[in-house]
Subunit: 248 residues, 2 copies
Amino acid sequence: MEKLKCTISYDGTHFFGSQIQPNKRTVQGEIERALQKMHDGKHIRIYASGRTDTGVHAKGQVFHFETYLSIPERNWKRALNSLLPDDIYVHEVKRVAADFHAQFDCVAKEYRYFILQNKEKDVFRRHFTYHYPYVLDLSQMKRACELFQGTHDFTSFCAAGSSVKGSKVRTLYEVRVEQKKDEIMILLRGDGFLYNMVRIIVGVLLDVGNGRLKADDIPVLIAAKDREKVSKTAPANGLFLWDVIYES
Amino acid sequence: MEKLKCTISYDGTHFFGSQIQPNKRTVQGEIERALQKMHDGKHIRIYASGRTDTGVHAKGQVFHFETYLSIPERNWKRALNSLLPDDIYVHEVKRVAADFHAQFDCVAKEYRYFILQNKEKDVFRRHFTYHYPYVLDLSQMKRACELFQGTHDFTSFCAAGSSVKGSKVRTLYEVRVEQKKDEIMILLRGDGFLYNMVRIIVGVLLDVGNGRLKADDIPVLIAAKDREKVSKTAPANGLFLWDVIYES
């Protein structure tokens, strides 16, 4: 048996999320179906670094699986891409040690959220940006980003439906906002993320930008440990799982 | 009665072209359906500057229609956008003279074609660029562009299925190629375009870029007036009707 690590991108628009569900089109479902074809009908289970929700995209999602096939890495990439639908693309297939685990060995993740700052809708970016035509104060958002950085209990920024039982303490290494032409990009890199945490933080940053909140409210919201106090979740379509980081 | 001129963009991916067809989802069909709702079920016919094929996009398509409703231009825009699906967007609605015609008054059109020059596929741009991972000689393509400019009989660059009966002489005011990061953009502006003319010219320019043709072959191909001699049509997904120009 060999263990393989795959790095993929996908356009999340037409998936009911990444994780397999009966009778729904999911990223995991499509990949396991492709692998099943390559393994003479045998079901091969894949393990991703984590799940992404319906409509969320991935630029560098990672998963692993075990196989009894012996195929060069290059050919794995070609074979999988030829079997997968055109909204999933395999960038890399690499042989890894038998004890590698895509979820448990991940040391950090980077998410990026894209906001379209334009009065007019853009039909070509409607699936990949959140259209927000209102004025945003970028300098206030930058201050708020700094206040999110560091190690905090993120209970206030975790969706109610979360199944996380343990600690809600996470470390955000970097939270940054920048503007390029008519798009604002919010980057978050941390050791782990609670359910909907990125989209809830983006919702708060938007409220700081539009003046409904002040940057100084962030420490108060964090200290409150209460989801009810916090802004609403930003929509899925602007969110990309950008990078999954492992110790090399 | 009032005559209104509308400028719209659409993502052509999920349309069977712009022109109405029974039992197919078309741009015209969607717009006429929205107008019908606004006119108490009465069918309002729209007249576009011209048709676009399945999968072809528009950044600035223009059409006109007549209405007995008396609504401010701003409200027309808002009303139509609220009734249209999210892959069509109305940028402007303007009152025009009773003798205005979106097709017959058009004096020039601009098309842009986008080519993705990257070894890797990009799932996020798959509908809006033609993925062409082979090396292209841009300087040769630039020379070829210049040779397309001017007034020519474009019979060699007109699809066989064309219904154009009259002259196939057209004037291209500008044909230009430029690279931005990993995308090559080909711009064509002219007084009129035959069926599939842009995509056939792009196919020839790609063959000049990859060395299958020389720039100096262009005048020979034009003079041949024979579609059989010319490269194959480039795919629809890279093509945008960018602008439709009227005398002001």
